[in-house]
Symmetry: C2
Subunit: 391 residues, 2 copies
Amino acid sequence: MIYTPKEEIINRTDKLRTLMGRASLDGAFFHYKIDYFYLSGTMQDAFLYVPLNGEPKLFVRREMRRARRESPLSDLIPLRSLETVKAHIGNPRRVGFQLDVMPYNFVMRFQKLLGDVELVDVSPLIIDLRKIKSPFEVGLMDKAAAIAGKVYEKIPEVLREGMTEIELGGILEAYAKTLGHEGLLRTRSLIFEAYTWHILSGKTGSIVSQMNSPLGGLGMSPAFPVGASRKKIRRGEPIMIDFGICYHGYQVDETRMFAIGHMPERFADAYEACREIHYRVLDKALEGVSCSELFQYSVELADRMGYGDYYLGYTPHKVNFLAHGIGIEISEPPFIAAKMDYPLLEGMTLAIEPKMVFPRQGACGIENTVLIEKDRYRVLTRMDEKIIVVD
Amino acid sequence: MIYTPKEEIINRTDKLRTLMGRASLDGAFFHYKIDYFYLSGTMQDAFLYVPLNGEPKLFVRREMRRARRESPLSDLIPLRSLETVKAHIGNPRRVGFQLDVMPYNFVMRFQKLLGDVELVDVSPLIIDLRKIKSPFEVGLMDKAAAIAGKVYEKIPEVLREGMTEIELGGILEAYAKTLGHEGLLRTRSLIFEAYTWHILSGKTGSIVSQMNSPLGGLGMSPAFPVGASRKKIRRGEPIMIDFGICYHGYQVDETRMFAIGHMPERFADAYEACREIHYRVLDKALEGVSCSELFQYSVELADRMGYGDYYLGYTPHKVNFLAHGIGIEISEPPFIAAKMDYPLLEGMTLAIEPKMVFPRQGACGIENTVLIEKDRYRVLTRMDEKIIVVD
């Protein structure tokens, strides 16, 4: 087991406090587990209170011993009821709460408990903070990327004509788990689920679903309408394998193209166009231009190469993003997307995924998880980028 | 693909309207996908409005063609923004909204849009409705149970000394997917995740985690602290395999005990006690007593058999439930638990799971998904209940 080091938690908390001070917050609560894991090192059922000054307090419902082992915080308090929280926080007047994810009923109950304390959405602060990854976090993402690499190397051994997409997905996920993959990808929503097993072959690559993605796949049923399906994989189809890996909570996202027998020329050509867009956009990102400009630049590149109708989906299903930040959530800022008027900065990690979708035929594209460094970028997902064709 | 039949949707909607009428609602919105799937047949990104009178309206963000194929509703409207919703609902004064799961910010935004419409929590109504399963729903759970049966039958073929818990979990999940298992178990919470791969061997069976469960397992890391771990499975350990299956959105939950070489006597005995509690409680349920009485009865049975210290966990980690309802969510009413003062009724499905946990040694127990019928019950998960010992 790897535990989050104490200095890491102190650094994150200090930075959060700077943001809290600017927002005139006397303290902030975190009960959505992704964020309190970031600030405490544990995901045991808990409630974290970070005062503007003084030690953070972690109220733990269960299991206290595991929470102590996992968290370097020193002030852990058994949580019997929300009253416990109230009794320990003094008299803040304006406090942060995760109003973007906490259910309405829960917030109202909490508001009633706290009386005339003003609750303010603190999620924008913590999400902003999480955009810049520390070397410790990058190390975990590097490990996730190494697992992803091994999973992709396994594909030529197991891919065969006639197997279903979901069968291949299951085999890859089972293998990934033996290497340390944790099985779930996490999103800040009850409505959008991220599945690991996005394997789309031939025309399922052109099927759209509820996700905000240029392609969704057929999925398994109306109740699972995204990702791999029971469709059999055939010779001469483009096979897109978009497989996220999670290690110690940190995720990487990666896409490579495969085929059995041969890759149709149209898809091979479009794949090269995707690679070109991928690298030209990253080069441009180092010039410090804004993400919305990068997005526009990518659209222009696709247009010039003759892929305007297919780039990031076809009308009316085109999407407005080329890359999503990634870390302890599969999709988080920064986004290379329309209207995102900020540059990419050192320490940001993002999954960049130029994809082309051809109606009724299929999709192709590439995706890498990339770290922005000083004056350069580093591709964490280092799997070879050639199209893999097996017999 | 199986689509929800029109009569099914009509029946559910009619019953909902009866409850809405009693609650003086002019209409109700559903945006949490589990519930609008139940009422519409689709999980495409959508917003459902059920007026007290008149046709339900399904506002679909994307993808309209799939929504039309999946849903028997006739009034499907492209959803461009929330304004679209407002323009189509007339002038209700008091409407339901899913205030238990919809985030605070979203509710406030919606409230602002609707002006002086009163928003009332509608979730208790839909959850109440979902407690009674139709024959169509039971049919899907039967299919899920059949998949579970095949997965359990596979275990003796693949279980071997020295493999890790997560390795076994991955193999079983990969196999389950080839049979139609959809990979995720769904909970009405962003905080508690349900994993399929709960495989606990020896002492990991005595490890508690953030879930409200007598046992949690070690999990993979502080970020995935529940379920199977990298611990190797050894000879002579109790191996608890608690494996949920999801088919067309419908879930079953099941637990069986395995060992390599031999099962320690203490666990074999405790397993028989669990079986006895399981069946005696179900027999008693047919007498129409309340769930809280059933729970108390089970505690008394365990005490009398000498398992008071271990039944449903050890102090301070004992839990207060013996069974959870199950359907399109892994845990939903009814609950055989303290304070649940309602009887079990025909058409209810629940996963009953008496388990004993021995500190630092491990756990054992049984779990079946059961349907309550008229004057009898039917165990859907029909896998043999003998302890399986492999060489």
